[in-house]
């Protein structure tokens, strides 16, 4: 081979790039996320269901949230009529997060796993969770 050193160096760089996903994941656990829905509010519900069926929410929740945002913020309409005719108040914090108060165990589970970084919390205040104990919070004042 002519210029063998240079060519082998090039091949090594190529291999380093192409096999990155393989060696990057050595020894890292690949655990499927299980979003939890066992919040006190959900436990109180007589029938555990979201505003729309689970399959729809799983695939389209981001689209629904986007529509809710446009409806509430741009059109001033805060009433959502679900596919089963039930009415809900359009509000991330007061409707969605009232039941799903466990952002870390619910939203973040799948989002972190799939590396999705939604920009909900650029504007909304993320719910305070048990991690910050009320006692500690008081002490700060």
């Amino acid at each position: 081979m002519y210029d063998g050193g240079k060519i082998l160096f090039g091949i090594l760089i190529f291999l380093a790039f192409v096999t990155f996903p393989f060696y990057n994941d050595i020894g890292k656990a690949n655990v499927k996320p299980e979003p939890k829905i066992d919040t006190p509010e959900i436990q109180k519900l007589p029938q555990k269901k979201c505003v729309e069926p689970k399959a729809f929410m799983k695939a389209e929740h981001m689209k629904l949230l986007n529509e809710w945002r446009d409806s509430a913020v741009r059109d001033g309409n805060r009433v959502y009529v679900a596919s089963d005719g039930k009415r809900y108040i359009i509000s991330l914090q007061n409707t969605c997060m009232r039941c799903h108060s466990n952002k870390k165990e619910f939203c973040d589970k799948c989002h972190n796993y799939a590396e999705v970084n939604p920009y909900c919390w650029d504007c909304h205040i993320a719910p305070k969770e048990a991690k910050i104990a009320p006692k500690e919070a008081k002490n700060e004042y």
Binding site: F22, N24, D25, P118
Partner: protein, 329 residues
């Protein structure tokens, strides 16, 4: 003809994946076996091609140049267009690889009022840049399916790509640019007569294939949602050599991964391997130093020569007898 054949071939590939997954239920074949085979073919094939090029001798020193060569000290050398050192060659190659310098110089000629006129033609360069760079970014964005956690610079790339915040999931600009650019690259083969004339099936297949890959990806992200957690389970299983097929991933995912597998497997055997070839083009990667360094043709064999001394040694007596002057008595 070549275009039609390629188009039908890609449609058949899509149908094959659809029928294979939806009717025959061969998820393990399309989700595990074919991707592994494709990646293996890609890596082995590219290395094979590069080594094969490396073994080809370069009989002549043939850099193409388009600037003032290194000359007298008071003549300014164009160090990038006519490099005489390795640094210059690296600069020239970097311009070529990252900015497609030689394509930027493309000109077109046409008859105007019976006279031949030349003009610059930057559209191919522009579409080529848009296509290659957005393809690279799209590829890098996909690392999120193959790593947990994703390196932070990739998150930055993703947030830049989606910074327009159009819709949810956020619209990625590169996906759209990729599709538009590849469409331009296809249309120019249809509408520019000279380009159409020289276009072959092997030119159309990658274009239609990449178009199909990009379209299925865009459809999957924005329209026909798939179970993304399931997809990541599958892809992470692949890269950790612990493959699984989670239930309930939409068929469009299998079509997407099948098409990209075909693209990867086809890569080393097609024009696409210019990814490696650009680095091994002797017209670009040689320094124009043929007046300073002698280039020896590697296939030169040792020539058997007969020097004058040896000649005289052999025929001295006969030369003397014939009265021919000799150097050594």
């Amino acid at each position: 003809m070549g275009a039609l054949f390629s188009f039908v071939a890609v449609i058949l590939l899509i149908l094959l994946a659809y029928v294979g997954v939806e009717v025959a239920g061969m998820q393990p074949i399309f989700g595990i076996v074919i991707p592994y085979a494709a990646v293996l073919t890609f890596i082995a094939g590219v290395i094979y091609r590069v080594i094969k090029w490396g073994r080809s001798p370069i009989p002549f020193h043939i850099p193409t140049t388009c600037g003032q060569q290194k000359s007298l000290p008071w003549i300014k050398q164009n160090k990038l267009e006519n490099p005489s050192s390795s640094t210059g060659v690296i600069g020239r190659m970097a311009l070529e690889v990252f900015l497609f310098r030689s394509l930027f110089r493309l000109s077109k000629s046409e008859l105007r009022d019976g006279r031949l006129a030349y003009g610059s033609d930057k559209w191919l360069w522009l579409a080529g840049m848009a296509f290659h760079w957005s393809f690279l970014i799209v590829l890098l964005r996909h690392i999120r399916f193959f790593a947990t956690p994703v390196p932070s610079y990739l998150n930055l790339l993703e947030s830049l790509d989606g910074f327009l915040q159009v819709g949810v999931p956020r619209l990625f600009m590169t996906g759209i640019i990729l599709l538009l650019a590849v469409t331009y690259l296809l249309l120019r083969r249809f509408y520019i007569p000279q380009v159409r004339y020289i276009s072959l099936t092997s030119d159309y297949i990658p274009l239609f294939l990449i178009m199909a890959v990009a379209s299925t990806g865009i459809l999957m992200r924005y329209f026909f949602k798939v179970d993304i957690v399931g997809v990541k389970e599958l892809t992470m299983g692949l890269v950790s050599f612990n493959p699984t097929i989670p239930k309930g991933i939409g068929v469009i995912f299998y079509i997407h991964i099948f098409l990209i597998s075909i693209l990867f497997a086809y890569f080393p055997f097609s024009k696409l391997v210019h990814m490696g070839g650009v680095f091994l083009s002797p017209t670009r990667n040689l320094a124009n130093n043929s007046r300073m360094v002698r280039h020896i043709n590697p296939w030169n064999y040792p020539v058997k020569f007969h020097s004058y001394e040896e000649y005289e040694e052999e025929f001295r007596k006969k030369m003397k007898d014939a009265g021919i002057p000799v150097e050594k008595e």
